[in-house]
């Protein structure tokens, strides 16, 4: 049962994540011009932002505890924040600072927070087997923690997806596989890459439950992921969920998205945050004052994290030799 309290919290968290992505986007682009250079500026390197996919992270993580594990893909910020990764340390990492989660060694695609059992990786689908192994540890130690492996719809055609699902199913491990279907893998639409329209159909190949959630609706996502997480926690084994969501921005920052044509405008009209905001206002859970306060609170928090990052020292050049071996 989704309570109004939970609804308000869903909204807050989605706003928090969106604010984060907007401000990262701002600072990412701030100093890369005039001759745009991906390696220049305060935040160098590739940047995959998650605007539009907040409902997945928020609905899913509402079911998770600190001791539950998650492996996220190359587009990880929404998941990290919803999972509880410290915003300051994460931001400092994205800014490549010594105070970052990995002291500047990891960057935006390699966020590691052991306290949240959170990690991500830039190699498509290859985080899924790692989640299976975390679940293996949980089940061997007889805890009731669960592991969640998150990947995009494009990732479902990678061999690692198949192997991970089969292992988890065969060993009946507490894993939830969450596929974020945002219709695109960079410039390649699902229909030219994936031989089934609905990836949850692939659950049949492993004899596990599969479900597709339409609508990018945080409440429906919460409920579907709750069923899956509860099942895993209770020893019922893995579930494959595909959640239809939307990629509001480019694959990475700098992506002109010419390949999207008119679909881009359609996608923009599906922004889940204003839609949910309107719904909660209609339901009397939100009002304009509250909205403004929530947004202000979010920007304050994010600005503080960014300020922390900017004020943190860079790593020492000689630190490059540290942490090759434990």
């Amino acid at each position: 049962m989704v309570t109004d309290q939970m609804r308000l919290n869903f909204y807050k968290q989605m706003v928090r994540i969106r604010t984060y992505e907007e401000m990262i986007k701002r600072d990412y682009h701030a100093d890369k011009t005039p001759a745009w250079d991906i390696g220049a500026g305060l935040i160098p390197g590739e940047m995959h932002l998650s605007a539009g996919q907040e409902p997945v992270a928020v609905g899913l993580c509402a079911n998770l505890r600190n001791d539950d594990a998650m492996t996220a893909p190359h587009r990880p910020h929404h998941l990290a924040l919803a999972k509880g990764v410290d915003m300051k340390a994460m931001t400092a990492e994205i800014f490549g600072r010594a105070s970052g989660l990995s002291h500047g060694k990891g960057g935006h695609m390699h966020l590691f927070d052991p306290s949240q059992h959170f990690s991500c990786s830039g190699i498509i689908a290859e985080g899924l087997p790692v989640a299976v192994g975390q679940a293996m540890a949980f089940s061997r130690r007889k805890t009731d923690s669960v592991a969640v492996g998150v990947a995009g719809e494009g990732a479902t055609n990678q061999g690692a997806f198949h192997e991970a699902l089969n292992l988890a199913a065969e060993w009946k491990l507490p894993v939830v596989f969450v596929i974020e279907d945002n219709d695109w893998a960079i410039s390649v639409p699902k229909k030219v890459s994936t031989s089934v329209r609905d990836n949850s159909l692939r659950a049949a190949a492993y004899g596990i439950p599969g479900e597709r959630v339409e609508g990018n609706d945080v409440e429906k996502i919460y409920e579907a992921t709750k069923r899956a997480v509860d099942r895993a926690r209770a020893g019922g084994g893995p579930t494959l969920l595909e959640i239809h969501t939307v990629r509001l921005w480019g694959h990475f920052e700098g992506d002109a998205q010419a390949y999207r044509g008119t679909e881009l405008a359609e996608a923009e009209a599906k922004d889940p945050i204003p839609l949910y905001e309107a719904k909660l206002i209609t339901a009397g859970i939100l009002n304009e004052t509250l909205v403004a306060a929530i947004k202000l609170e979010s920007s304050n928090e994010v600005e503080a994290a960014i300020t922390f990052a900017k004020n943190s020292p860079e790593p020492l050049a000689s630190d490059v030799y540290l942490h090759v071996f434990a």
Binding site: D37, G96, G107, H110, I124, A185, S193
Partner: protein, 344 residues
């Protein structure tokens, strides 16, 4: 960074390396219906690093094929098409992803010819981006060319400039063997990367070849031999030019790493006796060791001084700019190494 014009004063046509590659592919595709291209985002997008720019418009979806994220699947499919006599060009977006498909690359593409006793050919090009310098971190910045060169059966070319890129791509497509065509992102002349002036240059319009397996003396000198490959060659040339009049630096651009042009290495070191190796790939068990062994196989006395290796140290590639540049071979480090080898 200077602004680069696409037309030089003399009227010589100047292209970026990316454009030189896609032009090579287009010309071979026009000439041979059996050539086609496969990979992620090679179609409407034109390749993440521009290697297939414009091809989709000319050749359409039937010959420029966007694939699922199934590298084992589509590289394997390239092999299957090649053994049937087609000439696929397959793109693996980043060399760093080799681990999801190395079996097709190494146990199949590279070995079928040998295992079949020469009866089956695999005329296929596998192209891929390599290299760092723009904070793409541990999984998107590697070079790894020595990994492929270590394993027999593959030809591995790694051009440093547009002219060689076009000529080597045409050679690769026409070669009856599997050829790995590795391009450093920094030599592509991309509009969204640091602008390296040497990544744009004169490229003849007609189809021409650059031979696979032949190094080029990119800068003639007599005091010290600097052997390098790919983007690092551009840095070596900058340094060699800066040192002109002071130290006479010979820069050898290997262009191909397998088969290695050992004669060119021996010829240069016989002249200079002093060796600097500049390589963005991980230092140990890589290119630098093989270059040295090529010399000591013949005669260690060819070396008048300890060898200077300016390579990526044996650490994974860090994200932060200060850390990454602390690891990368830079002009400063190359220059320091040249001074060191001259003093020794």
């Amino acid at each position: 960074m200077t602004t680069i014009t696409l037309e030089s004063e003399s009227g010589t046509r100047r292209l970026t390396t990316a454009k030189a590659i896609s032009e090579a592919i287009a010309q071979e595709m026009r000439a041979n219906q059996e050539v086609f291209v496969m990979g992620e985002d090679v179609g409407a997008y034109g390749g993440i690093f521009g290697s297939t720019g414009g091809l989709f418009d000319e050749f359409g979806a039937s010959r420029i094929i966007d694939t699922p994220i199934s590298e084992t699947g589509f590289i394997g499919a390239g092999i299957g098409a090649a053994v049937e006599g087609m000439r696929p060009i397959v793109e693996l977006m980043f060399v760093d992803f080799f681990g999801v498909c190395m079996d097709q690359i190494y146990n199949h593409m590279a070995k079928i010819h040998y295992e079949s006793g020469g009866n089956v050919k695999v005329p296929m090009v596998l192209m891929m981006a390599a290299g760092g310098g723009y904070s793409d971190a541990a999984q998107h910045s590697q070079c790894l060319w020595a990994t492929f060169a270590h394993m027999p059966g593959l030809k591995v070319v790694v051009p440093s400039n547009p002219y060689d890129a076009k000529g080597l791509m045409i050679s690769a497509i026409r070669d009856d063997n599997p050829v790995l065509f590795m391009f450093h992102k920094g030599v592509m002349g991309l509009p969204w990367m640091a602008k390296n002036p040497r990544s744009i240059g004169p490229v003849p319009e007609d189809a021409y070849t650059v031979p696979i397996g032949k190094a080029a003396v990119a800068h003639t000198g007599s005091d010290v031999t600097v052997v390098s490959i790919s983007l690092s060659v551009q840095h070596c040339l900058d340094v060699a030019e800066a040192l002109e009049g002071k130290i006479s630096v010979e820069v050898l651009d290997l262009r191909t790493i397998a088969p290695l042009d050992r004669d060119a290495i021996l010829a240069s070191i016989s002249k200079t006796g002093r060796l600097v190796i500049v390589d963005e790939d991980y230092q140990s068990f890589g290119l630098s060791g093989e270059i040295v062994a090529t010399i000591t196989d013949k005669d260690p006395r060819l070396l008048k001084a300890p060898v200077q290796r300016v390579c990526h140290p044996d650490v994974p590639i860090p994200y932060s700019r200060v850390l990454e540049y602390s690891a990368l071979p830079t002009r400063e480090k190359i220059q320091a190494a040249i001074h060191a080898v001259m003093k020794a």
